[in-house]
Symmetry: none
Subunit: 223 residues, 2 copies
Amino acid sequence: MHYRILIVEDDEELGKQIVGHFREAGFDPTWFKNGDAALMVRPQDFDLIVLDLMLPGAYGMDVLKHVRQEADVPVLVLSARNETTDKVRALELGADDYMTKPFWPEELLARVQARLRRPVLTRSGVIEVGSLAIDTVGRQVSIGDETVELTRVEFDLLTALAKRPGAAISRTWLVDNVLDPEREGGTRTLDVHISRLRKKLGDVGRTIATVWGVGYRLEPQST
Amino acid sequence: MHYRILIVEDDEELGKQIVGHFREAGFDPTWFKNGDAALMVRPQDFDLIVLDLMLPGAYGMDVLKHVRQEADVPVLVLSARNETTDKVRALELGADDYMTKPFWPEELLARVQARLRRPVLTRSGVIEVGSLAIDTVGRQVSIGDETVELTRVEFDLLTALAKRPGAAISRTWLVDNVLDPEREGGTRTLDVHISRLRKKLGDVGRTIATVWGVGYRLEPQST
DNA sequence: CTATGGCTTAGGAACCTGTTAAGATCTCCA
DNA sequence: TGGAGATCTTAACAGGTTCCTAAGCCATAG
């Protein structure tokens, strides 16, 4: 069975290239060259959406909003600029990942593949990993029947890991995306949060593995 | 069946050298010394194009553009400078890989082979070579059902080899790309890592072959 | 047989992580 | 506005892991 990928990209060259790479890799890509068409589509017909934010007419954000209203499909956002505002807004609107042009097609492919190995995310916005249940809407976490109280950072940290169970999430990514972005680098802050998270989660906490020199990973079959 | 390679390179020496290497390696190389000729060609007649950006008259980018308009042939770009602008522009125009001069002809050959001989990379980001499975996303390695604990360098080394099973990966490439780039040259560090990797992998470790005077190779049918 | 390159062992240096404790900051409510 | 409590950050250190280098031995090519 082939994953269906929707690509929204106005650049003729880049679009063709991306489509080619996806097809080669065994995906089933659909390519829209403008936002209007993308606004008509049923997002739930696709397994993942690659969206260029810099569409003519600044439709990028509209498309993203539309997709988010309709379904919980992962969205990978592309942007030509490396402006933080774009990134922040995209993430606020529910983008799942973000890439700055230019990039290697392989990298895009790799990220998409990583994203598709996704967790059990129920329609109500609950991520389930083993006995762990994360209500991303109500921002509540439970293990079995027990509710666990987490702070904001702890919750975001756990969510980031749980969104891609089994994947190693790099320290830098976590620091940049979960912790306060205004911070300056070079501390043990992340470790402290992980430490407390593990303690609060008890047995489940032990399924947060350290990937030495890289980051952390939530084991998929967390009991 | 021979792969047809188009080489666009104005430097007499380098061109001759590259052509020689490709021919030796069993490719079918065609060599153009200037961009004008390259603009006339039908890119779809080739399996891969090696393009020097620094052509007289600055035709490099034009050729790239031409190729991209015509067909979806992989293009490997060469450039004398190590300037980011060139790299970025090449990427925007759809180059698939990029090499900075000077380089070893072997390295060029290796990259070309890597591109033509697609790695065994499954949808989920797992590289499989025989009973060996490398989860590049989760950064985990297993042989059959057994998980193998590898350090960061060991993992990256194995991945580099496994991405191109059967291909000889040069020592220099491994040292430059896998080991800490800040290091100074002239040690036996790589050997030590390979040694430990072999030991940890047990039987599979024996399929990491030494290519005398060149580097290492992971045998494709590793048990 | 010789020279070159590769393998392995061992030790120490460098690095990374986990944890505790304390200070800074934020939030909420009276 | 003030203050208590919760939350986040930083510093400091311990403990462990990983990496690099040196040195001797072995394998290979010529």
